[in-house]
């Protein structure tokens, strides 16, 4: 349906709905339930150079309107992803997929990104400089404009595919970080990653998560995400992918009005495995209700004079 299409760095998406990294695995669990080719695309589980077990459990906690996670980038490492996961994925997903990449040094990011850059199935490289659940990497790159520049610049110099910088909301001035990424060569920005949070177990009198802190996601963060997408879209001229707490077709429209060309859906997938399918199916009807002919018409409309 033409009215749902959107453009992401030269690739046309059938619709703007993209399951977010870490909430969709490699898609297999969802492919058992529905044809995942109806998605715009999806961002697969964050990949690092070496295999990672991640953090000890408990890794998950609940809160009103959302959840905390401290998974800690569990993944089999880039070589196994290329050797085992991508061939398996090829059987169930036939569109360009988004590769999400994390690291602990600039070299890590470059190495992992350049390996995934060579994979035909990969359409975009989403560079996660915003993971709050690992130490000595991840978010530390995304909370300082100079470090963000360094990582994005180095990855860009060694890859061909469109580069998306995934940003952390745990900063005071998101516009400064976003501009820095744009200057470094990023082709798009995606945000927000999770907001750093904590819960305490009253019985044990200790933090509920083994990692002590975790990333907050779910509907609770949606207004923060809308605000930051709005600010980022105003600050840069590259496309912005909006995410954070999206659960309905209305949320998608709101995020696009704030300035997003596409959206990622995260925590909603964990509660309702059909969430993305339902959102896509409901979009036309909700667009009719708000007199929207084509989604492309509303991108950033809330911020226009």
């Amino acid at each position: 349906m033409e009215r749902l299409t959107t453009e992401l760095c030269g690739i046309t998406l059938d619709n703007p709905v993209i399951p977010a990294s870490g909430t969709f695995g490699y898609g297999y669990e969802f492919a058992e339930l529905y044809d995942i080719n109806l998605l715009g695309t999806f961002s697969f589980k964050g990949t690092t150079r070496d295999p990672r077990f991640g953090n000890p459990t408990p890794r998950i906690a609940e809160c009103p309107g959302g959840m905390l996670n401290a998974v800690g980038l569990q993944n089999p490492g880039v070589e196994k992803v290329i050797r085992e996961e991508l061939p398996k994925l090829k059987k169930v997903f036939h569109k360009p997929v988004m590769a999400n990449i994390s690291g602990f040094s600039v070299e890590d990011y470059v190495e992992t990104a350049s390996r995934l850059d060579q994979q035909e199935q990969v359409g975009w490289l989403e560079i996660n400089i915003s993971c709050p659940n690992v130490h000595g990497g991840g978010m530390s790159f995304g909370t300082d404009p100079a470090q963000a520049y360094e990582v994005i610049h180095a990855v860009k110099a060694n890859t061909q595919k469109p580069l998306i910088a995934k940003l952390s909301p745990n900063v005071t001035d998101i516009a400064a970080i976003a501009r820095s990424c744009e200057k470094a060569g990023a082709d798009a920005i995606s945000l927000i990653n999770t907001i750093l949070g904590m819960r305490i177990d009253l019985n044990r009198r200790r933090p509920l998560l083994a990692n002590q802190t975790g990333g907050l996601s779910g509907p609770a963060v949606f207004p923060v995400a809308v605000r930051m997408v709005y600010q980022t879209a105003k600050a840069v001229s590259i496309p912005v992918i909006g995410m954070g707490g999206i659960t309905t077709a209305e949320d998608v429209i709101e995020m696009m009005m704030a300035g997003a060309v596409a959206v990622e859906v995260g925590a909603a997938n964990l509660v309702d495995p059909y969430a993305c399918k339902t959102i896509i199916e409901q979009l036309p009807e909700v667009m009719d209700r708000y007199h929207i002919d084509s989604l492309r018409d509303i991108i950033g409309i809330a911020g226009k004079e």
Binding site: E29, G54, R59
Partner: protein, 244 residues
């Protein structure tokens, strides 16, 4: 995995903190002993994973203990209410490994998932011994249900107020063809260290999705990283590397 809207047919207390809920609408789902379901409850963001006690015809039986907001809310739900449920989750027990005289070891709310297992094993002609462990006499539930199935039942209580005094490990026979254990971690580890026999353990972990997408419940095994919700919750003894 299947998603269904199940209707509560009954919801009654078995003792002060343990409840039995029967839900209809599972027709068409293939549920194996040891699997679990994931319930969407009003006002709570994450689903609540609950092990399957029994699945027969159109009827699903869940036996749960009130340990927090979710299970407390469940205990107050009424007949006729509908729950959005994900079914067929997890791997379930390996029934083919049972041998002639399988031993079932359950502690507290680890007892319910062994019920469907006992039923299946007895139906296939096995001589089942079930050791059901509780803290005290007033905690005991499902003793008669297991007997009615035809299992040899031994009940233990930690304080000796009913049955054999002690833990399930104190009542374990010398030999069994295979064991299946479900209960709190200290009990599982005691079983693990006490027996040389072959068997399976059913584990519990805090979950995000319950169907393998979020990596929230991963554990390290001898054969690499496994998701308790997907490759588990049942693991062979030889896969687990418990040193403590």
């Amino acid at each position: 995995m299947k998603q269904k809207r199940l209707k509560i047919e009954s919801n009654r207390s078995l003792n002060e903190t343990v409840y039995e809920m029967k839900l209809s609408g599972i027709c068409g789902a293939a549920i194996r002993p040891g699997q679990f379901v994931n319930l969407k409850l009003d006002g709570l963001f994450l689903r609540r994973p609950i092990s399957v006690c029994d699945a027969e015809g159109d009827l699903l039986t869940l036996v749960y203990r009130t340990v927090g907001k979710g299970t407390d809310q469940m205990s107050r739900m009424k007949t006729g209410e509908v729950i959005d449920t994900l079914l067929e989750l997890g791997n379930g027990y390996d029934l083919s490994a049972a041998g002639k005289q399988p031993l079932l070891l359950g502690g507290g709310v680890g007892v319910p998932p062994l019920y469907a297992l006992a039923k299946n094993l007895i139906e296939s002609g096995k001589e089942v011994t079930a050791i059901l462990g509780f803290n005290t006499a007033s905690d005991v539930f499902y003793e008669n249900e297991f007997r009615t199935l035809g299992a040899k039942v031994i009940v233990t209580t930690a304080d000796g107020s009913y049955g054999t005094k002690g833990f399930v490990t104190d009542a374990m026979p010398e030999t069994s063809s295979f064991f299946y254990a479900c209960g709190p971690m200290p009990m599982l580890k005691a079983v693990y260290h006490k027996t040389n026999g072959l068997g399976q353990f059913s584990l519990e972990e805090r979950m995000g999705c319950g169907f393998g997408a979020c990596m929230g419940c991963s554990i390290l095994t001898r054969n690499g990283t496994k998701r308790v919700c997907k490759e588990g919750p049942v693991f062979y003894k030889e896969d687990l590397a418990w040193n403590d």
